[in-house]
Structures are given as structure tokens and as C-alpha cells.
């Protein structure tokens, strides 16, 4: 017993990044009670993002613990997960920074919740035991429900829906885990993979299949993959814009990497073909309703479902061909694009009304920088050159192509074809944004004011999206820094 305690104390320094985040959460709780948060908004936001940034840098320490089961084999750091943790933390930082633009009275709770979710997600993708997986997933989920709630009718409806769907998803996951435990007597990924290798008797195998389907469904809920995507549009629309932006990256990365860790450490849970079909179904489910959206946040919600589909394609290609490249690049560029998109939504919302397509009609004529930004962003989200979005899609599709030619099954070719044709479908709704910006005449809505600093920021993001096409090497070098 003593040695176990010793181990835990000794191993703590590997998780210094997570502990920093945990300390930050506690600190924010205290501050929210003690301080006039609205007055110290700038200080608090800067401090929070600074601490999160330092926790990002502390991830370096984890490279020493790679593939060592620590904390009684509850946590295993894999060489490939460190990068995803970095992505999650960066998306958290960006979401926190977006609060600078939120006009109404500043409260600290959302910031606190975002940090908590980042913490939970980082534990989720380090987990090597189903118990740990479940606990960290619940940490993420419960905080998310609270984060969506904003005391308006729309958001209370959305957060209740989210809670109900989420609770069911959690229950399914938990049921799956309990079945696994019942059949195998263990929750440890390493033990399970040994059992999977040695084979189990056919009767249990069927039960185990049921259990794995349930576990995968539970995780798909976080990623927003069909059939677990129903919560996304309402929640994205109702949540505050920084929160929506964060939801479109953080939890998705958490979910998909948790799934990746399962596939890599335990074994293939659900076959590639089924996953590929789910992926393309997700792309369609996202793209088709998006065609009829007028509310920009809802439009981006459906677009994010479609992007989840692409992420799943990258996932299938990844587990099939063991090349991480495509998913790493896709996530990084997707993060840039999505935060850019929601930043635009935020600028439009600064008029004080919901961001709809009608509310941007004709704006491109007076706000040229915003207009050009919207064009490049739409191209990038569609996946057209010369933007990073094209490179991201190109990498996903090439690695999926490689998988298809190895597997040589017609299902894969059909999936590939549908996925690529969806680029054209996606164009139909993304192009509406520059279309409304430039082609529509200015309605009776008031102009928006974009300060010089914001214009420079928009120009920088535009350049970033273009540079990530021309100099994709730089992004890849950047990603390389986090791969050990």
C-alpha cells in the first residue's frame, strides 16, 4: 500500500499540466465569490489565458511518461495524445479570449466551466481505464450542461435537451462499460486488449459486441456523429458564441481521441466499413439541413456536424493506415477556421441581434475587410484552394484513398465519392455568406462598427488561412513539435 502511495506521489509531476488547470479552476471559484468580476474582467481573462498557456507549455513534461501506466494504470500518456491535449488547451484559450468581445456584464462562471471542460477532456484522452474514462467524461458533460444555460428561454430549452440527450448517452456508455466488466472482469485497457487477443468464447463475444457498440455510441455523442448528433444545432444556437466555438472543437477532439486510444490500445471495436458509412452519413446529415439555415450559428452548427463526418473519415483512415498526419492537420486547421467563423458571428452579433444571413446583407460593400475575410473563410470551410481548408481535406481524402486502395472494397469507394461530392453541397451554403455580404442590397439594418484593431485581426486570420495553404510545411513543423 505504501509503495502505491509513493508511486502516486512520484508520478504526480507528470501531470503538472492538468494540476495547473485544476488549481486554476479552484482559484476562479474563489475569485467569483470574492471579486467584482465585471470590474476586473481584463485582468481575469488575461490571467486565465496565461495560466492555460503555461499548462500548455507544461505538457512537455509528459513526454517522459509516454506509455508508462501511471496512477495505478488509470492514466497512460501516449506519444500521440500530447498534441491533441495542446489543441484542446489552445481552443480553451481562444474561447476565453473571445469573452473580450462579449458586451454584457461579465461573469466568471463560464470561464471556470471552460477550464473545467479542458481539464476533463485532457483526463479523458489520457485514460487507460474505463472507470477513468467515465469519470472524466461526466466531468465534461455535467459542466457542459451548465455552460449552455444562460437564463433565456431558448438556452434553457437547449440545455435541458442537451442534458436529456447527454444523460441517455452517458447511460448507454455506462451500461456498455458494465457489460464489459461483467464479461471480462476488468476495466483496464491493457488487460482488455490481452483478452481480445486471446479470444473469448462465442457467447460472450456477442455480448461484447453489444457492449462495444454502446461504448462507441457514448463517445460518438461528444463528437456529434450520426446517430448521436441531434443535440448539436439547438445547443450551438443557444449557447454564447465563445462557448459554441469551444464546443465545436474541444469536446470533439476529446471524443475522437478517446476513441482513437481505445482502438489503439484495446483493438478495433467497430469495423472500418461501418465507421466509414457513419462518417459519410454524418457529412450528409450536416450538409443537407445546412442548406436551409438562415441563422448563422445554426448554419455553422450543421457545418460542424459535416466536419465531424470528415473527422471520422480521418479517424478511419488513421486507424486503418496508422498515419496520424491527416487528422493532426485537419484538427489544427479546423480549429483555426471554426474560431474564425464564430469570431465573425460575434462581430455581427455586436449589433445586438442574432446573426442571420439577412443581417449581413450588403455589409461587404462598406466592410471590405470583413467581406474579404468572409470569402476566404467560406472557401476554407468548403475546402477550396488556396486556403488551409483545402489542404486539410486533401490530406484526409488522400489518406482515406490509401486505405480504400488497401481494402479495395466498393463501400469505401462509394464513401469516398460521396464525401468528395459533398464539397459541392457544402459550397451551396457556405457561399451564401459572401453572397449575402456582397450581392444583396443593404437592408434597413444598421451598420456594424469594426474597429481598426479588429480589422487588423481579421486581416491576420485571413492571411493565416492563406498561409496555411501556401506554407503548409510550417503547420506540419508546428505539429511535429508536439509529437514525441
Amino acid at each position: 500500500m505504501k509503495s502505491v502511495l509513493q508511486d502516486i506521489v512520484f508520478e504526480s509531476h507528470y501531470l503538472i499540466s492538468e494540476f495547473t488547470l485544476a488549481a486554476l479552476v479552484l482559484f476562479l471559484v474563489l475569485m467569483s465569490i470574492m471579486m467584482d468580476t465585471d470590474r476586473f474582467k481584463t485582468v481575469l481573462l488575461c490571467f486565465t489565458s496565461f495560466v492555460m498557456l503555461s499548462s500548455l507549455l507544461m505538457l512537455v513534461d509528459q513526454s517522459a511518461a509516454i506509455e508508462k501506466g501511471i496512477f495505478m494504470h488509470m492514466i497512460t500518456i501516449h506519444s500521440y495524445t500530447i498534441y491533441f491535449k495542446a489543441i484542446i488547451i489552445v481552443s480553451g484559450i481562444l474561447a476565453v479570449l473571445m469573452y473580450f468581445n462579449v458586451k454584457k456584464k461579465f461573469e466568471l462562471e463560464p470561464i471556470m466551466f471552460i477550464v473545467t471542460i479542458v481539464l476533463g477532456l485532457n483526463f479523458l484522452i489520457s485514460s487507460s481505464n474505463f472507470l477513468m474514462t467515465y469519470v472524466s467524461l461526466e466531468l465534461v458533460s455535467l459542466t457542459s450542461y451548465a455552460l449552455v444555460y444562460r437564463a433565456t428561454a431558448k438556452s434553457s430549452e437547449a440545455s435541458l435537451k442537451y442534458l436529456l440527450y447527454g444523460a441517455v448517452a452517458s447511460a448507454i456508455l455506462l451500461y456498455g462499460i458494465s457489460l464489459v466488466y461483467g464479461i471480462t472482469g476488468t476495466l483496464d485497457y491493457g488487460d482488455l486488449s490481452a483478452i481480445a487477443r486471446d479470444g473469448i468464447n462465442p457467447a460472450s463475444a456477442i455480448m461484447l459486441t453489444v457492449a462495444t457498440v454502446m461504448i462507441v455510441l457514448g463517445l460518438l455523442f461528444k463528437i456529434g456523429v450520426v446517430p448521436m448528433h441531434l443535440w448539436i444545432p439547438d445547443v450551438y444556437e443557444a449557447a454564447e458564441t465563445p462557448v459554441t466555438a469551444f464546443f465545436s472543437i474541444g469536446p470533439k477532439v476529446g471524443g475522437i481521441v478517446a476513441l482513437l486510444v481505445l482502438y489503439r490500445s484495446v483493438g478495433t471495436l467497430i469495423g472500418y466499413e461501418t465507421m466509414a458509412v457513419l462518417a459519410v452519413a454524418t457529412i450528409l446529415t450536416g450538409n443537407l439541413p445546412a442548406l436551409w439555415q438562415n441563422n448563422l450559428k445554426r448554419l455553422f452548427a450543421y457545418s460542424s456536424i459535416a466536419h465531424s463526418g470528415f473527422l471520422m473519415l480521418a479517424f478511419v483512415a488513421l486507424v486503418g493506415t496508422t498515419s496520424l498526419g491527416a487528422m493532426n492537420v485537419y484538427l489544427l486547421i479546423y480549429m483555426i477556421m471554426n474560431f474564425a467563423a464564430f469570431y465573425m458571428v460575434q462581430l455581427i452579433e455586436s449589433k445586438g441581434e442574432e446573426a442571420t444571413l439577412n443581417s449581413i446583407a450588403g455589409l461587404g460593400k462598406s466592410q471590405v475587410v470583413l467581406g474579404v475575410f468572409s470569402v476566404v473563410l467560406a472557401l476554407s470551410l468548403t475546402g477550396l484552394p488556396p486556403t488551409g481548408g483545402f489542404m486539410a481535406k486533401l490530406f484526409v481524402l488522400t489518406s482515406f484513398w490509401d486505405l480504400s486502395s488497401v481494402m479495395n472494397s466498393n463501400v469505401f469507394w462509394v464513401v469516398f465519392l460521396l464525401a468528395i461530392i459533398n464539397t459541392a453541397v457544402a459550397l451551396f451554403y457556405y457561399i451564401k455568406i459572401p453572397y449575402y455580404f456582397f450581392f444583396k442590397n443593404v437592408g434597413d439594418n444598421t451598420e456594424i462598427y469594426v474597429s481598426r484593431g479588429k480589422k487588423i485581426l481579421l486581416a491576420l486570420i485571413t492571411i493565416l488561412l492563406l498561409v496555411s495553404f501556401i506554407k503548409i510545411n510550417w503547420l506540419i513543423d508546428l505539429i511535429g513539435m508536439f509529437n514525441y
Binding site: 488556396p386 481524402l397 489518406s399 459550397l427 456582397f438 450581392f439
Partner: protein
């Protein structure tokens, strides 16, 4: 001197200049654009003059001219090999005529754009962007680079039609965008497949440790490399995947058993992947060309586009389709392209006849000319399907000649439209007595387009017919009856042009709206400057075809040899 990069890069710099102009000096952007196109024209003429006709290009990089080659992207994908793309541009006999055509048409389109009144800066910035993308497309020898420029032509066109176009401009611009994008997606699929199947032998030789650097790779090294690849000695992680178009047209550069290699065991729905690949490329470029049944975006786009944009669209952009088909479709998939030759020729024939019939029925003069473009583009398909030197020369010549003639015709329509804001054939009669000089140039344009001897269109069509007619006995790819039916298309062409001429220009002067009479003055100096060079070009290349044919013949012979080797 990096002349080609200068041509591509100059407009991009000019865009910054145009955007930086203060609103009060917005009119200056016209002169900036004109200056850019003038410099481009001069540079292109220098290239044209110093072009070495004996160097074939097409398959080997050494015989391309003005080549610029820089590494663009390269990184390892672990077990999947190495991803690489180059900034590789050069010119050969297939592209030199297109480059000259682009320079002339862009120059004239810029002059024509001087009549644009609102949002001048935005218009010229987009026109310059389009300009750069066009040259990029014709000069790229790397598929990724080509695709970049190919897609990048869409966006400026979308806005140029959508903002400065006619009443139904929004519909037309979106239709144009979606059609071309769907087409380009088919091209993207093939690009991805080729990328994963083809390796760059030179870079791979370096990776495999056969040579210290790219420059030091000898042909001996390559022999060793091909041997290693053949025996499967080379680890998969050592393969440097490439987008190089020239590497793709050499069967030795395919990774054994890769999906697009000729020996592949893979089938997709029991079709050979190479067959499907050519089909996809064909559809992609046929949308751009456009060939029936992918043509419906073109009349809408033309009708709504402002005159200069119609000129660029018909004069240059359509040629990208034909050029891409030769440079990419036929060079890389000569074996399966031959299997589909019958269908390609059939679509060519249908385009010729169907386009002409539609033109006959049109009441709008611009729409009539748009359909005549579709009809003329059919000749390109008929020519390339024949796998003969005459057919290919004719196809390229048709693109070149149609560039002059269609630009001329759309400018001529613009003359009437600018004055009356109407261009329905039935609303005018006897314009010859009112605008004699205008009518004279119209007659030249119409006769050039219907393929009268002494004009460039005649040379192009006769070459295409010669090539496709001999195809049945030479290689049996194009049946003779298709050629015969296509020749009948010329009668239809003559019919719609002469009929339009008779209805609009001859007879007693009459216009639907009396107020137009004052506006219908004869040509202005600016219009002469635009129209005469084009008319002269159509005439010059009609009586001295050697001027252009000599430039391309070495390349065409090399390409056709390459094609015929693949089918024998």
C-alpha cells in the same frame, strides 16, 4: 529571368496596388490593369519570339522552355511515404499558343472594361486575379498547382458575373460556380488517386540513397531505382509521392500495384480504375469546355456577364477545358482514353450539331453566339478523339482561333448592347445602312466563325476533319459517320449566322424603339482598337497558319506518338 513567374506574379502585385488606391483615384486602376496586360503582352511576345520550335516538351522536362522549378511542400507521412509538391512551371508547344491567346484577349478585355462605372477598384482587382489564374493554369506542370489555379478562376468569375452582370446575374453566377466546382471535384478525385499512385523518380532516388542530391541524379541511378521498385526492394516510406504531371505520364513512375498503375489488380465496381479516372477527368474538363450535356451553365453565364467578362470567358476560360484534357487527361491516361474515344467523339459530334441547332433557335444575339461556342468546342473533342497529329493540331488550332473569333463576336454584341441595352435579333433590322463599318466587322466575324477559307476557323476545322476522317483506317477510334455528320454541322453554322445577318443587318432600317436611332452611332475609336486586332488575328492565322502550327507541331507529334504507343 523568370519570365513566366513574372507573367503570373505581376497581376498579383498590381492587385495590391489597385486596392491601395484612394477612392478618389479609383479610375487609375483601369490604367494599372491596362499597364499590367500590356507588359504581359510584351513579355509573351518575347517568349513567342524566342520559343524554340524544335523542343517538344509534353513528356520530358528538359525539352520544356522557360522552366522554373522550386520545391513547394515536402514532408514525411511516416509509413505512407513522403508528400511533395513543386512550384513547376514551363511552356511547350501545347501551351504557347494558349499563352499568346491569353495575352491578347486579356489586353483587349481590359480595354473593353474601361466602360465599367461602379466599384471600379473591386472589378479590376478581380480581373487581375483572374488574369493571374489563367496564366497559372496554362503554365503549371504540377497537378496541385494546376488545380489551385483552376479553382482560382472560379471565384473572380463568380463575383465578376454576380456583381457587374445583367438582371439575372445571381442565378447565373451561382450556376456557373456550382457546375464548374462539381466538374473540378471529379478532377480532384483523380488528382488524389494519381498522387497516391505515382512517385517522383528523382527525389525518390535521393531518398533511397542512390544519389546525394536532386541535381546529382543520373540516368544510371534511375535505372537502378526502377529495378528496385520493380523487385519491391524499396520500402514504402521511401517513396516520394508527387503531383508532377510529367512523372504521371510515364508508366514506370507508378508504384507497383498502385491503383492507377497499368498492372493494377484493383477494380472498382468491376471497372478498371484507369478507365474511371479518365472518365472523371473528361467530365471535369467537359464541364469547363463545355460539351453537351454539361453545357447549360454557359448560355446563362454569357447572357448575364458584362461584355469584357464574356470575352474572357469565351476567349480563354473555355480553352482551359480543352487544354486540361490534352495536358492531363490524354497524356496521363492514353490507354483508357482510347477505349473511350468513340464516346468522346460522339459527345463532340452531338455538341457540334446540338449547339448549332440551339443557336439557330435563339432570339438573343449573345445567346446565339454562346451556343455557337458550344458547337465550336465540339470540334476539339472530335479532334483529340482521333489520336492523329492532324486531329490534335486541329483541336489546338481550334482553341486558338476560336479565342480570337469568339472574343471578337462578344465584343460586337457588346457594341449594340452598350448603345441600346437590347440585343434581341428581332428588334433590329437593316443596321447596315445605319452602321456600315460595324456591319462590315460583323460580317468578318460571322464568316470567320462559320469557317470560311482565309480565316483561322477554316484551318482548324479542316485539320480536325482530316484527322478524324483518317482515324477509322489508322486506328479505328472514330467512326467515319460521326465525321460526316459533324461536317453537316457546318451547314447549320452557316445557316444561323447568315440568317442572323439577314435579319439584323440587311433590309430596310427599322428598330423596335425609336429612341434607339440616335444612340446607334457607328464604331468609336476605342471599339476599333479592340475589334480590328482580333479580326486581323483571325485573318492572319487563316492565311499563314504556319505561324502557329510550327510552334506546336513538335509537341503534338510527341504527344500523339506517346498516345499511339499506349494503344499498340
Amino acid at each position: 529571368m523568370n519570365l513566366l513567374s513574372l507573367i503570373i506574379g505581376l497581376p498579383l502585385f498590381a492587385i495590391l496596388l489597385v486596392l491601395a488606391l484612394p477612392e478618389s483615384k479609383a479610375q487609375l486602376s483601369k490604367w494599372v490593369s491596362l499597364g499590367v496586360t500590356a507588359v504581359q503582352l510584351v513579355v509573351v511576345l518575347i517568349i513567342w519570339q524566342s520559343f524554340d520550335e524544335t523542343k517538344a516538351g509534353v513528356l520530358t522536362l528538359d525539352s520544356f522552355q522557360f522552366v522554373e522549378n522550386y520545391e513547394w511542400i515536402k514532408f514525411s507521412l511516416g509509413s505512407l511515404g513522403i508528400f511533395s509538391a513543386d512550384y513547376l512551371i514551363g511552356v511547350d508547344g501545347l501551351s504557347i499558343t494558349m499563352v499568346l491567346l491569353s495575352a491578347i484577349v486579356m489586353f483587349i478585355a481590359t480595354i473593353s472594361s474601361f466602360s465599367i462605372k461602379d466599384k471600379v477598384k473591386g472589378y479590376f482587382a478581380l480581373l487581375l486575379l483572374l488574369n493571374s489564374a489563367i496564366y497559372g493554369c496554362f503554365l503549371s506542370l504540377d497537378f496541385l498547382l494546376f488545380y489551385l489555379f483552376f479553382e482560382f478562376m472560379l471565384l473572380p468569375m463568380f463575383f465578376l458575373i454576380g456583381i457587374w452582370g445583367g438582371p439575372k446575374r445571381e442565378y447565373a453566377s451561382i450556376k456557373f460556380f456550382i457546375y464548374t466546382l462539381v466538374g473540378s471535384i471529379f478532377i480532384l478525385i483523380v488528382m488524389i488517386g494519381l498522387y497516391s499512385s505515382v512517385f517522383d523518380p528523382i527525389k525518390t532516388a535521393v531518398e533511397a540513397g542512390l544519389a546525394p542530391s536532386i541535381d546529382a541524379v543520373t540516368s544510371g541511378n534511375l535505372e537502378v531505382l526502377y529495378q528496385m521498385v520493380h523487385t519491391g526492394e524499396l520500402a514504402e516510406s521511401k517513396f516520394v509521392h508527387t503531383f508532377g504531371l510529367l512523372h504521371m505520364s510515364d508508366v514506370r513512375n507508378y508504384i507497383p500495384n498502385a491503383i492507377f498503375s497499368t498492372d493494377t489488380a484493383i477494380t472498382i465496381f468491376s471497372y478498371s480504375p484507369r478507365l474511371l479516372a479518365f472518365l472523371a477527368l473528361f467530365i471535369g474538363f467537359a464541364v469547363k469546355l463545355p460539351a453537351v450535356p454539361f453545357h447549360t451553365w454557359l448560355p446563362d453565364a454569357h447572357v448575364e456577364a458584362p461584355t469584357p467578362i464574356s470575352v474572357v470567358l469565351a476567349g480563354i476560360l473555355l480553352k482551359v477545358g480543352g487544354y486540361g484534357l490534352m495536358r492531363i487527361g490524354y497524356s496521363i491516361f492514353p490507354d483508357t482514353a482510347a477505349e473511350l474515344s468513340w464516346w468522346v467523339a460522339l459527345i463532340g459530334m452531338i455538341s457540334i450539331i446540338y449547339g448549332a441547332y440551339n443557336a439557330l433557335a435563339m432570339k438573343d444575339l449573345k445567346k446565339m453566339i454562346a451556343y455557337s461556342s458550344i458547337s465550336h468546342m465540339g470540334f476539339i473533342l472530335l479532334g483529340v478523339a482521333s489520336y492523329t497529329v492532324e486531329g490534335f493540331s486541329g483541336a489546338i488550332y481550334q482553341m486558338f482561333s476560336h479565342g480570337f473569333i469568339s472574343a471578337l463576336l462578344f465584343l460586337l454584341v457588346g457594341v449594340v448592347y452598350d448603345r441600346t441595352h437590347n440585343r434581341m435579333i428581332e428588334n433590329f433590322r437593316g443596321l447596315a445602312s445605319k452602321m456600315p463599318f460595324y456591319t462590315a466587322i460583323v460580317i468578318v466575324g460571322f464568316f470567320a466563325s462559320l469557317g470560311l477559307p482565309a480565316f483561322s476557323g477554316f484551318i482548324a476545322e479542316i485539320l480536325v476533319f482530316l484527322g478524324s476522317f483518317s482515324s477509322e483506317t489508322l486506328n479505328g477510334l472514330v467512326p467515319r459517320w460521326m465525321v460526316v455528320v459533324s461536317i453537316l454541322g457546318i451547314i447549320l453554322t452557316a445557316a444561323y449566322y447568315l440568317w442572323a445577318l439577314q435579319r439584323m443587318f440587311f433590309g430596310k432600317y427599322w428598330v423596335k424603339d425609336e429612341s434607339w436611332t440616335d444612340k446607334l452611332s457607328d464604331l468609336t475609336t476605342r471599339e476599333y482598337i479592340m475589334l480590328l486586332p482580333l479580326a486581323f488575328g483571325a485573318f492572319l492565322f487563316g492565311i499563314l497558319p504556319g505561324l502557329a502550327i510550327d510552334k506546336m507541331s513538335a509537341s503534338v507529334i510527341t504527344l500523339v506518338d506517346h498516345l499511339n504507343q499506349a494503344i499498340n
